[in-house]
Amino acid sequence: MPADEAYPVTPCTLQGVTVTLGGVPVLRHLDLAIPDGDFLVVLGANGSGKSTLLRACLGLVPVTTGEVRLFGTQVASFRQWSRIAYAPQQFPDCRAIPVSVSEFIASGQTGPSIVGRRNRAALQHATVALGLWDLRRRAIGELSGGQQRRCLVARALGRMSDLLFLDEPTAGVDEEGQHLLAAVLRSRRDEGGTTVVVTHEHNAVSDLATRCLVVEPTGLRYC
């Protein structure tokens, strides 16, 4: 879904990116381009730097060398965040105040504008597609880990973004949930959306890959 058909811009590029966390280099001189319509699956062992790679793409961790661009713009000066959606690995702490499932999913639709806009149809679609409709009034803290994980993905999907980053979307999700997830992501892929999925396991979602790469201590390896 490029914004301008005449000038398709690569959604995400990394050039010579090194990320150092706590003095330890996690990623070393990585080059990666994620073209429009790609469904990239990033595999790797625990601690290999998969999540860090994703976070670097989003500008959430500083890069020591190299540069990250989103839709042609350096991530630090990137402003079109409505084109990006992200489902992090960590579920936020929702114990202080009860938050309902529908509130949680809708929280993904607060754009950079002062007044958050909502696309109710997109929210409803994401909620139904991931099997969360009947749970929508429940407090999210009462859900199982796998259900919470689906809520994270539904929140990101509800943004109707051009570029979607999912960090371990299937962790703790049962087989039925994984198939729901795979079905939604397949139709997204077939409609031309660009998706990056970080996972440590092969499953129904990683089967959707148009490209697959493994993060290793020596660098990236395509498989």
Partner: protein, 267 residues
Amino acid sequence: MLSYDFMQRAMLAAVVVGVIAPLIGTFLVQRRLALLGDGMGHVALTGVGLAFLVGSAPVGTALIVTVVGAIALEVIRARSRTAGDLALALLFYGGIAGGVLFASLATGSGSAALNQYLFGSLVTVSTGDVWALLGAAVVIIAVLGLLGRVLFLVALDPALARTQGVRVELMSAVLTVLTAVAVVVGMRTVGLLLVSAVMIIPIATAQQFAGSFRITQLVGSAIGLVCCVGGLTLSYVLDAPPGAVIVLLALVGFVVAAIGRAALARG
């Protein structure tokens, strides 16, 4: 009771703080900043002391000093290596020390005058105060209406907010400034040392039964209203400082709700 002009003004001020304070408090509890209102209350004390010293209106002066303090707190947090709770502690100490020093340097107003602001007072709310409180309340509601969703996201998941283009530090500063304004709104009736309780206790009560953030916020606001109006009435009957009565009433409500929830869970 409401045939007295001073009680009408006090009641109006109580209604405003009862409704407004829990609206802000919901975000503070979510962000684990339940004590932020306390810190802002201490800073407001410096504003009151300064007003005594220079002879200006306490509400207006406290508003300015507290908002400046709120911005200073956010700058300290964002720009230096000082941890959030440490920055808050610095404000606590500075606020009290400044308030006591300025009030003692001022001639003509002793500790009794300061007490009215520490624990609230029925008889000293002026017409000018009421207008200032109403103005502040309108500002708070307008900002919450505009930024409520963004503030919710920042409270829930700040890292994700960044990837949605939200300026997280700016929104934190907005919440701190709103807290500062709410503290000054509650200063005359509940008092600076206890106003934070009206932000927090009704929310603690509401969350015993609520299943969503919005319900917690709205029910909390309703509980705050009942506690402030009820507490003010009781304080008139008992001839006691309104702040203490309002807060004890709110705590009774919390205990009843907590027991009720435990009973429901068992039954």
